[in-house]
Symmetry: D5
Subunit: 97 residues, 10 copies
């Protein structure tokens, strides 16, 4: 089940540099584990913004909330969720897993 | 070069059914040709909306404008374009072409 | 899987009365079938508005889109979808099915 | 008398952890008492948000204001209230209490 | 139970003058009956706008929806409803019923 | 001359409790004096909000600005002013002073 | 008593040219009479817009509403009213009446 | 060349009172010098707001920016600029300089 | 004197094709004359939109309004005007006229 | 490939003056290097705002993001990006480099 998620980050200007570095390292690792696991399918940087557009493929709403709520950057994010469905114009690739 | 594009369609309620069917058929064919060609990478339906979220991979801005401007549904669409870049947290797949 | 859906209706002022009555009758029947089937769990009128707030319980995004897209009033509606999850403060009723 | 209430929480990033834990514990208990009493009929988490959608069934406006104003998280919330009425398409369950 | 209601009117520019006059006459009569009955407590014109701010005192949400839904101008209105409660700073008049 | 005024209050979370209590006491007293004097005709709490809707009857714009500017809570308020006029549908009470 | 009023005009694209010319002629004459009478103190065109910013000096709210409501272009306008007061930094001209 | 400028002030609640008094005194003097010089033609207080609506008559854009950028309150202001032109309905006073 | 102008076009879907072609031809010619004359310095298409971003260099506000008001597409446009000034970081080209 | 970029700056009121001066000096130098290199084609101050409108000519999205992300003022900026394309009405200068 697919969802488009836009995450916009506002890190406080006075956040301690070490604390910030630690959060960002954990965020990256957290994201890459979920990418490796197949649930976080895409992540793109929005040009000129501290934000990303991501596509998630999860079993259900609860799982998506769980993933987002536990993002190390969650307290600094504004998040926008759009549930997606198959589009009738989509070309189905022959061997798409 | 990647772009996220959100297209929202408002077909006039009194549009002739044959005209409408023709436009929709041409829209689908137009989209599928570009998907086959690799420039229109993804198209998803936004749940409960007459709109889609698409990802384009084009050589330059001019080409993206050309594609969107010539959509058969263009006169009925509101379009929002977001240029994308690679995200530092993105996992690079070993054999991604 | 739960979703909150707000539907706001704008029927054209010059819509033929018989056509309108037919659409509304089909809308009501369509809604009540889905209520009886358990997928459309709640429907409330928003006071002073031609709109409703509904709660759906569906198997997946595709199903929700299918239900909304086929509403007889869909061409006259603006629809807003919010995916829901269980709230940690929710009291679990002893015998809630 | 039914109301839909959307509560969005913004806890200050520098709030003392003990103070925060105490507020959240009192909020949960406060909410569950009202759920047990039947006035707070539903509470759902909005996916990816620190916010909830709730349905209240209260005797009058004064009572709803009283409930919301005394939420332990009230000073940290943005609240949106929508009065609800019975929808003509609602199926009436035979033995609904 | 008090509610503030803002009603903004957009009458189509090509509405037949007789039809319009009839609707306006019925609207005025409808409003004055409810004012006489005590449910429509105040109605003020917003300066420079085709809109009014009104205060209603009704027994419950259902009654308010019923009143608004049956306004002769309802199909031409955008309506905004704000539930009101007693303010702690309000001076209680000695003999206010 | 009537005006509708909506005042929304945001008291800083770290405001000293004594300072806050003093401001609120002065605000209440200030409001009640103007109510007693007839210029502040109505004040209602907006349900679930730290805000009020008020009706003022003042001799001129200057007087209204003077009243609002000197509210003890003014530095913490967002204020929205709507000039009002008599509505043609208003029922004139026989002995309304 | 001063008010700033912004008027934005949207004339329907299919309005009969004679009807339009007549409305515009009456609008101009109406405005100039009020300018001559001193109530319509200023009128400026907003660059690149079919809209104006005006300053009115009227005895009371009722009079301002009366003036605006009877503008020949009123049915085609969106109007925004801001009550004004004397600014403490304003230089008082020696012989300003 | 005329411009309408709306300036909205947000002075931090914890700004030192002496610093604030100094800024306000310099702001007033700065404004009055420009009023005396004829470039700052009008300044009105918006009722109930810490904001003003002003009319400037300057030789060119650069000059207007220079004036606004050097306002003592500039760091605390949100500013909105509207270029104005002569309105075709404006009555030309016989001896207007 | 520089201005950034964003023009967004909405041509009615039922506009006669010949009328439309004529307007567009006149628009193009009108724009190119002003480009040749040096007042319309830049015009860019916004990707995926029926709108442009333009830069004008005109003697005064009146002239800019005159240019925009007489655009053949003016009745179909929404226009947004931003006055520009020299930026302190701008590199001055050696022989820039 | 052209992009219009609007950058709006909000420097914290309590930022150390030396730190601020250093950031601004680095920002100016950074901008001027890119102007000299031809990628930052235009930069204009928006009148009355701490913001600029800029035109960039870059090889691809990645490069634009890189430029913007590394602006010394980036943490204090709100940035809006609009991809541009050639406009069909644009006059092509004979010897435009």
């Amino acid at each position: 089940m697919l969802f488009a998620v836009r995450m916009s980050v506002t890190v406080p200007l006075d956040l301690d540099e070490d604390v910030k570095a630690d959060i960002l390292a954990r965020e990256k690792s957290y994201s890459q584990d979920l990418q490796a696991g197949g649930e976080w399918q895409h992540i793109w940087r929005c040009v000129g913004q501290y934000s990303n557009l991501s596509i998630f493929d999860v079993a259900e709403n609860e799982r998506l909330h769980d993933i987002l709520w536990n993002l190390p950057l969650f307290p600094y994010m504004e998040i926008d969720v759009t549930p997606l469905a198959r589009h009738p114009s989509q070309v189905v690739a022959p061997s798409q897993p």
